[in-house]
């Protein structure tokens, strides 16, 4: 390949060819304010893809320390190399933080955009397989792994409360539900059963505030459905994270309106977690540069919406994953909707275990983050970075209690709880596709999917599809 003089080489890595998925060498370079990933397949030629529009933030994010933590119990051998050996293999550089269990491949929508290519037909995962997944994870990673129940649409299963209960019974401390909200919007007893079984968080597909956006991305008018689902979650006492898939030309101009919606629906809504579209699974068309929306563009849109009240310095890369996978920030929301960055210093997670508020007893299962979880042996103790990432999610994505003040003498306690309820998380994660895949990033992936054969596969490897829709790890939809 040839280089123009205006290019700034930023690094070398490996990727895959978006046509044949063969592993190929790749470079990252900046041209103007945009960072590209470029690679050349011997059979299919060169291709360059914009991956980060904003050189200033790229250089800032690049300074972020990389936290590597080896897999204590590799499940697959290192053989063909990344991303072929996933399971996890001994060369993976990060432990599991959040693990997806796809409990069904059926869905009650048929979205034009779906990483899982789900349809109305499909199959439910047998309960025996789900139980085996949980046992495998407990053995390999311990009970502090966060579990996301995903699909397909998990709520299409009537026995989902039993799956939540099983997950809790096996010793997992955090369970979130990845859902379109359809069933939650009209079945309060089902939602109540999920919460009673131990559901911690509803990870709600929420692409915008207008039916035009829902129609474009989900093939249905869902604005009122989302409203009712959030109201139901409030009544049921479970926190909600709004999860917009951002697509240029469809809903970029609703980013500000989504944030305003979140503010109005706090404290039920605890955070907005944006996901710029990745070209995996079912998408309307292969990507073009103008159909990419990168993380710094999301941050710029948020900063512009808040009219300068927040800035780039209020956002940070993730602590466990590769820094170019995500950003997050926490903000106090005033009564008038004004945002102020939450600048409380992070609590060190690796200090000595902190005694409880004297003299109140501490429950046995709330040990310091770097001590063993119940039933966990030393091999399953999480790395500090993974523990921190899990702690952030537990705090910012679960229900916030706002007790009625009954005693002015305890106002100092209530102030802490009120502050938490007024804190809004704004974050984003961009998944990789066959055009943007950077194996340096993939090796640090801490979001994994359990395959039917008990392998834990990094999300971006599991869902990887080439231009023709062929997969590397995921079984093709029936």
């Amino acid at each position: 390949m040839t280089h123009s003089d205006s290019r700034l080489l930023l690094g070398t890595t490996e990727s895959v060819c978006p046509e044949c998925l063969e592993t190929v060498p790749a470079i990252r370079y900046a041209e103007g304010d945009t960072v590209y990933l470029e690679k050349t397949c011997p059979d299919h030629g060169p291709i360059a893809t914009p991956i980060w529009r904003g050189l200033k933030s790229y250089l800032l994010w690049d300074k972020s320390p990389r936290h590597y933590a080896g897999v204590s119990k590799p499940a697959t051998a290192v053989d063909k190399g990344c991303p072929q050996d996933c399971g996890l293999c001994g060369n993976h550089l990060q432990q599991s933080c959040c693990v997806l269990l796809e409990v069904t491949s059926r869905c009650n929508l048929s979205c034009p955009v779906c990483f899982a290519s789900a349809t109305h037909t499909g199959e439910d995962m047998p309960m025996a397989t789900i139980e085996a997944w949980l046992d495998t994870l407990m053995d390999r990673a311990g009970g502090r792994v966060h579990i996301q129940l995903s699909g397909g649409e998990p709520t299409i299963r009537d026995d989902l409360p039993a799956i939540v209960a099983l997950t809790r019974r096996k010793g997992f401390s955090f369970v979130q539900l990845n859902t379109n909200g359809l069933r939650l919007s009209h079945d309060p007893s089902y939602l109540a059963a999920l919460v009673t079984a131990g559901l911690d968080c509803v990870f709600l597909q929420f692409d915008g505030v207008s039916d035009t956006v829902h129609q474009a991305l989900r093939g249905a008018r869902l604005r009122a459905v989302k409203e009712r689902a959030i109201e139901a979650c409030g009544l049921a006492g479970v926190g909600v994270v709004l999860v917009p898939t951002l697509v240029p030309g469809v809903n970029i101009d609703e980013i500000g309106a989504i944030v305003e919606f979140a503010k109005v629906h706090m404290p039920v809504v605890r955070a907005v977690h944006f996901q710029p579209i990745s070209y995996i699974g079912r998408v309307p068309a292969p990507p073009r540069p103008e159909t990419r929306f990168t993380l710094p563009e999301v941050m710029a849109a948020l900063i512009a919406h808040e009219g300068g009240a927040i800035s780039l310095s209020d956002f940070h890369p993730g602590s466990a994953e590769n820094p170019f996978c995500s950003f997050s920030g926490r903000f106090q929301v005033a009564a008038d909707g004004h945002l102020t960055a939450d600048r409380e210093p992070p609590v060190s997670c690796c200090g000595p275990p902190t005694p409880p508020l004297d003299p109140a007893p501490a429950p046995e299962d709330r040990t310091s983050c770097c001590s063993s979880a119940p039933k966990a042996d030393r091999a399953t103790v999480p790395s500090a970075a993974v523990a921190r990432a899990r702690r952030y999610v537990t705090d910012q994505w679960t229900r916030a209690d706002t007790p009625e003040p009954v005693d002015p003498g305890l106002a100092a306690f209530d102030a802490i709880l009120d502050r938490r309820a007024r804190t809004l998380g704004l974050s984003a994660m961009v998944f990789q596709d066959a055009w943007t895949l950077d194996l340096d990033r993939l090796r640090q992936c801490h979001i994994h999917v359990m395959a039917p054969d008990q392998r834990a596969i990094p999300f971006c490897a599991y869902n990887l599809t080439n231009r023709q829709g062929e997969t590397l790890h995921r079984r093709p939809a029936p």
Partner: protein
């Protein structure tokens, strides 16, 4: 003993310090956890300084505050 949702907590003078045999009274207490300090009013013994925390407070508001600080 009271609950955190009980609007009529007992008179602290109904609580007697087992060590000093003195009625408790409401006083300023500094509770601290994970580097943060909370000035709160709780029943305490005016003689020995013993602080009384009801089970409901310990397992209610106090526990929620602990969890909020631990998860930061």
């Amino acid at each position: 003993m009271t609950t955190s949702t009980d609007p009529t907590p007992p008179n602290p003078e109904d609580l007697i310090c087992a060590k000093c045999d003195t009625p408790l009274r409401i006083g300023k207490v500094l509770a601290s956890y994970m580097g943060q300090t909370f000035p709160v009013d709780l029943p305490l013994c005016p003689t020995c300084g013993f602080v009384y925390v009801s089970e409901d407070l310990a397992e209610g508001r106090m526990l929620k505050v602990e969890q909020a600080l631990e998860d930061k």
